[in-house]
């Protein structure tokens, strides 16, 4: 898939229209929030991460924000990724989240050289195409940077 449709895959448009995890959950238990902003377009995201008691596993990720379809879809996909891990294994381990964020960043900065693997990134793999649009990388990264920052504070 090339051109515009390679960027705006069906899945991305779906997520942006029907976002998951949108609406900040209550500040229950061990949690932290991060506000991130893309100074170029003014897009913002506020993202809350909630952890289990010993702070090792992520219970959920919720967010609020306004922005382009890429930034909205990306936040939604990130939220789903964490939610699935929580369902399957009682929460995504912190280290795993950090690794995912790192891998995501690397792929997006690769100018299209690295494809995100569907097995690992689930729906977010559809964001691979963003790497070829350097001006949009920040849009896709916004929620992921917010999670990274929130984890550092939690």
């Amino acid at each position: 898939m090339s051109g515009l449709d390679g960027l705006y895959q069906e899945l991305i448009l779906d997520h942006s229209k029907h976002p998951h995890g949108k609406g900040l959950a209550g500040e229950e238990g061990r949690s932290a929030i991060s506000h991130q902003r893309n100074p170029i377009c003014g897009d913002e995201v506020s993202l809350r991460v909630r952890l289990d008691e010993d702070g090792e596993r992520i219970r959920d990720v919720t967010w609020e924000g306004a922005g382009c379809s890429i930034s909205q879809a990306s936040a939604s996909m990130l939220s789903v990724l964490v939610a699935d891990a929580a369902e399957d294994h009682g929460g995504m381990p912190r280290a795993r989240a950090t690794a995912l964020i790192g891998g995501f960043r690397e792929a997006l900065r690769s100018r299209g050289a690295i494809e995100l693997d569907e097995e690992t990134f689930a729906d977010a793999a559809a964001l691979s195409g963003v790497g070829r649009y350097t001006a949009r990388v920040k849009c896709a990264m916004l929620a992921w940077v917010a999670l990274e920052d929130a984890l550092a504070r939690a």
């Binding site: 051109g3 515009l4 705006y8 377009c41 003014g42 382009c68 379809s69 890429i70």
Partner: protein, 428 residues
Amino acid sequence: MSTADTPRLDAAALRADFPILEQTIGGERLVYLDSGATSQKPRAVIDAEVAFLTHANSAVHRGAHTLAAEATELYEDARATVAGFVGAEAENLVWTSGATAALNLVAYAIGNATAGRGAPASTRFALHPGDELVVTETEHHANLIPWQELAARTGAVLRHIPVRDDGTLDLDAAASVIGDRTRVVAFTHVSNVLGIVNPVADLVALARAVGALTVLDACQSAPHLALDLPALGVDLAAFSGHKMLGPFGIGALYGRTEVLEALPPFLTGGSMVTTVTLDEADFLPPPQKFEAGTQPVSQTIALAEAVRYLDRLGMDAVHAHESVIERRMMAGLREIPGVRLLGDAAGAERVGIAAFDVAGVHAHDVGQFLDARGVAVRVGHHCAKPLHARFGLTASVRASTSVFTTEDDVDALLDGLAGVRAYFGVES
């Protein structure tokens, strides 16, 4: 000027003067509607700079060898040419690296006067706590933040003239905002978002009545309108070369003689001094007083070529052409469902800039969608966040014209926009 008298301009033919327009973007013809951010350069401008670099390149005002003398002449001729383009004399034109630098120059020079620097005459610019600086709600950040910072450093108060829903300035409010405490009124000639020409004469009259200094941001007027800055009556005015077919890295500050003479210097260094000891320096008269360091000589020469290019077309013809394009663009935009124009004041004098919101589709997505069709527009807040906030937005899409913008270009924009909401699945 009646349309019959106005010289015509053949925009489609002018495209051939701009080498970058030969490009295709993903196979599509490049429709460049981002001249408001930076203009493209005609071949003549690029050639003038290359010719200088390969034949006369040298630092100026510093030496006696042949290249240096030649460069100095070209540099001072360029000053006279660009000054003439805005109706001014050479000695009233200070080279700067751009409009941002020019506006900062003014704000910092006033700060320096406040700190007791400059000639005795500089004290007239010194600010005192409670003094007021006035801007408008339509300002570009370049004509807003320097004044915020000056206010913060000096204890002065920053006030603003509000904008009405239709994008015009609220002149009634202006008359009450500008008062006895007002020391500076800084405002844009044309908003880089709305494209509306502000009422310079009214604002100058209000400022003059209270003895305030007027600072005009002419960034978006200089490329599009015939300018006569002395006739406008402003004390100071700033513009950027890269927005008027010239190169990056060069712009100018125009100033009335007595204002430039009285303002303290801003940047200090070489080529702006008379005597210098280890302890203190004396400064040359304007414009040199404000031109510290090695000047961007090749860029001044290229900018002079750019204004000669515009002069050959005739600024009345440029404005007439861009008005035709602008009206077609605005009319077309009004008809697209979901498109909301920012500042669509009926009967307002305008240049070819249109900013709008597309309901349900983020500006970034609109821009990307258009880009895939070869249409380059700007998306974001265009460095005018307060104005966007005024209209309840964080970002908008902006299309802006140049001398080479054709009706086909406008139609490509309108065709693209007609399909954008469907693509992103927004019902209309």
